[in-house]
């Protein structure tokens, strides 16, 4: 046979370095580490709470203080906002398009609706936490 199709190898471990879009994708996927981390952090809080003593809880709070914690949470907040929250909202209209009659609701409407809902949810959480 004269045919001999050539298969270009694709690196299984570093393919995402090929272009900016793929790098952003990997950064986006890695927010899952933060999600896991904070889920466990909340769990630790629960452990402290479940002991039933104020001291334990305060110890937990104290353990969360300090400049390195500020740096960690600060970084996490920004990273999370850009690569998880905003990314998720921006992609939402693709999964859940809204069509009213003959017109598709423009994607940015759906995105904006998400931001509004997010503001409300966040305000509620802060209110619940007594922060506002």
């Amino acid at each position: 046979m004269s045919r001999r199709p050539y298969v270009r190898p694709m690196s299984r471990t570093t393919w995402y370095m090929r272009n900016g879009r793929f790098k952003v994708y990997m950064l986006r996927e890695l927010t899952s580490l933060l999600v896991g981390f904070y889920a466990f952090l909340v769990l630790f809080g629960l452990v402290a709470l479940s002991a039933g003593s104020e001291a334990q809880w305060n110890d937990f709070l104290a353990s969360q203080q300090g400049p390195e914690m500020i740096a960690l949470h600060g970084f996490a907040l920004l990273y999370f906002l850009f690569y998880q929250t905003f990314a998720w909202f921006n992609l939402a209209p693709k999964a859940m398009p809204v069509q009213l009659g003959e017109k598709k609701l423009p994607a940015h409407f759906i995105v904006i609706a998400h931001y509004v809902a997010w503001a409300v949810v966040s305000a509620f959480i802060f209110w619940l936490a007594g922060a506002i």
């Binding site: 690196s11 299984r12 471990t13 570093t14 995402y16 990997m26 996927e29 890695l30 927010t31 899952s32 580490l33 933060l34 999600v35 896991g36 904070y38 889920a39 466990f40 952090l41 909340v42 769990l43 629960l46 452990v47 709470l49 479940s50 039933g52 104020e54 809880w57 305060n58 709070l61 969360q64 203080q65 300090g66 914690m69 500020i70 960690l72 949470h73 600060g74 996490a76 907040l77 999370f80 906002l81 998880q84 929250t85 998720w88 909202f89 999964a95 809902a117 997010w118 949810v121 966040s122 959480i125 802060f126 619940l128 936490a129 007594g130 922060a131």
Partner: protein, 113 residues
Amino acid sequence: MTIARKALVWGLFAAGGTLTSFVFPSLIALFLLIASGNTPVGLEYGQIHAFAASWMGKASLFGVIFLALWHAAHRLRVAAHDLGLRVDGLVASVLYLVAALGSALAVYYLVLI
């Protein structure tokens, strides 16, 4: 059936993604407040304990932890694959197990409160 399992896994993943996108920024912000020594009143022992003791509180805390863990586990599984770790069965078992364990612990401690 594969269809069924994947649909369930993905459904929870998507729910977790949506939930964390909405809730986690505030959650992280609260930790930031704590870190900078400005713990809000609602997180002082009495109030937070009361919240976690209520049914509503328990349910929402569990929901957040469970969905977040599930979301993280599933996404890490995909990321592991993307990074070239091609032992999907093992990776999935470990990650989902951790998520399940975390969720079970959450239930245990919530019941204790």
